[in-house]
């Protein structure tokens, strides 16, 4: 990720570029990382709704949106997606938190 110089910033530290959270990578904050188990996924979009950042990658080309996986540049490893995942509550988790190695 590249950083702007002070001469390139807006006065007052305001941000004029809407939706810029996408450009700001927070993925290196993590200890745990969600693993996507595709065969258990019911594509309910709960993970996408609950994700506090923009880490859930979805495919919107069809009639209904489909869960594709995790955008690791934005996943801080909070585990909310894995907690809220409805199949997980029935013992067939589509998102499983594992300790990230290296």
């Amino acid at each position: 990720m590249s950083f702007l110089k002070n001469s390139e910033l807006h006065e007052g530290g305001i941000i004029r570029e809407a939706g810029n959270a996408h450009d700001y990578q927070t993925g290196d904050w993590r200890t745990f990382v969600p693993q996507f188990v595709e065969e258990n996924c019911i594509h309910c979009m709960f993970c996408w709704i609950y994700c506090p950042d923009s880490a859930i990658d979805i495919d919107t080309s069809g009639d209904k949106p489909k869960m594709k996986g995790i955008i690791l540049d934005h996943c801080k490893g909070c585990g909310i997606c894995a907690t809220e995942c409805p199949p997980a509550k029935k013992g067939k988790a589509a998102l499983v938190m594992v300790r990230e190695e290296k």
């Binding site: 702007l4 001469s7 006065e11 007052g12 305001i14 941000i15 004029r16 809407a18 810029n20």
Partner: protein, 391 residues
């Protein structure tokens, strides 16, 4: 420009100046000795003389928060306070400057607690001297009014965009009837001009994020940009003052010089005490003592260059502080002045006076000038002194 000569208290004079700016929003909480100013302004609103939205909040922290919200929304905004009220605003005082919001504030100078005291000193303003505001000081009702008119132009200038604090001494100026010349409402508004915002929260076509989390990767760059702004402020204050002078016949500098041309001894002071000093200086001038006065009108940004130039080559300088810096070396005005004079061989002594509204009388000025004469003759006196104290 023909101006009406009126008799008003400092509070009333500033309320008129604020009304003439036709502010969109005013938020405030009452505290002595500021109350009368907002009282007068509320009267203007109630009488339909200005269409300002008054926000009556439950504390000064909220008053400043509301002012920040209003200014970020793109409205011309002011507030006013004193003493503990300013102390309670503390957190948001920094936010206003950091977000570059040109809020105007009347700070009617009053001592801080404890013990509780309602009278004048400058400890409230000095506590906020590093918060990023422009600090203007006034000697009388005329200067309070003039500063309160010019403050909008300075703060709202597109190369400045900073909040401005108009300081005037509690009770001594705020509650004393004084004669002053006032601009007609339309002429004052024409001078101040229509408000232009640098950004607004209320434009969905151009969305902005204000005050986001700013950590180790960007906070310092934002502070670097803010720091650079203060270098531009003096030039803009100068040009606004000149334009104001052309309109009113009253032109101000960062510092006012009184009997300074051939002065060997100089008193440096802020606010209403300058008037007392001028009277005593006149007496000493009649006796042939070459003493002058340098009254600092703009304390932030501190006019380093002008002060260094004006004090260079004098025989002795006395800096008067109406606030103390506990555990520091002398008062804030002394520290700044002495630092500005670094490298000069002029002896500078500090006098702390008038805390909690202790009367600053002619004898105290005489004491200072007598000391200056001794220092000029080579005597070494105590660096930091208290004036008018029973000991």
């Amino acid at each position: 420009m023909e101006q009406k000569l009126v008799a008003l208290s400092g509070n009333e004079a500033v309320a008129y100046a604020f009304k003439q700016a036709r502010p969109h929003v005013a938020s405030a909480f009452p505290i002595t000795p500021q109350t009368e100013m907002m009282h007068k302004f509320a009267e203007f609103v109630a009488n339909g003389e200005t269409e300002t939205e008054m926000i009556l909040v439950e504390s000064e922290h909220s008053a400043m928060s509301a002012a920040v919200g209003s200014a970020a929304a793109g409205a011309r905004t002011f507030t006013a306070t004193s003493s503990a009220g300013f102390a309670l605003m503390w957190e948001i005082v920094y936010v206003a400057a950091s977000l570059r919001l040109p809020i105007c504030m009347a700070l009617v100078n009053r001592a801080l607690s404890g013990n509780i005291n309602i009278h004048c000193d400058h400890s409230d303003s000095m506590g906020g001297r590093d918060a990023g505001w422009i600090h203007l000081f006034s000697e009388n009702a005329q200067e309070s009014y003039d500063n309160a008119v010019m403050a909008w132009r300075i703060g709202e200038h597109m190369d400045v965009r900073l909040p401005v604090m108009v300081n005037y001494d509690g009770f001594i100026i705020s509650h004393t009837a004084d004669a002053l010349h006032m601009l007609p409402d339309d002429a004052a508004y024409d001078f101040i001009g229509k408000y232009k915002h640098a950004y607004t929260l209320l434009d969905p076509e151009n969305p902005v994020t204000v005050g986001p989390l700013d950590l180790t990767d960007y906070y310092f760059e934002h502070k670097a940009s803010q720091l650079a702004t203060y270098e531009r402020v003096p030039g803009i204050v100068q040009s606004v003052s000149e334009e104001f002078g052309a309109l009113t016949g009253r032109t101000y500098q960062f510092c006012e010089e009184y009997a300074m041309d051939d002065a060997e001894l100089v008193i440096v002071v802020l606010g209403s005490s300058a008037g007392t000093c001028k009277d005593v200086i006149d007496e000493y001038r009649e006796k042939g003592v070459k003493v002058g006065l340098l009254k600092i009108r703009m304390f932030r940004p501190f006019p380093v260059q002008m002060i260094a130039e004006k004090l260079a080559g004098r025989k002795a300088v006395a800096v008067l502080d109406r606030s103390a810096s506990f555990g520091g070396q002398g008062g804030p005005v002394f520290m700044e002045t002495r630092s500005a004079m670094y490298g000069q061989q002029v002896p500078v002594n500090n006098y702390i006076y008038g805390l909690g509204g202790r009367d600053f009388d002619l004898h105290q000025v005489e004491e200072v000038i007598d000391d200056l004469q001794k220092v000029a003759a080579g005597e070494e006196l105590q660096l930091i002194n208290l004036l008018g104290i029973r000991s």
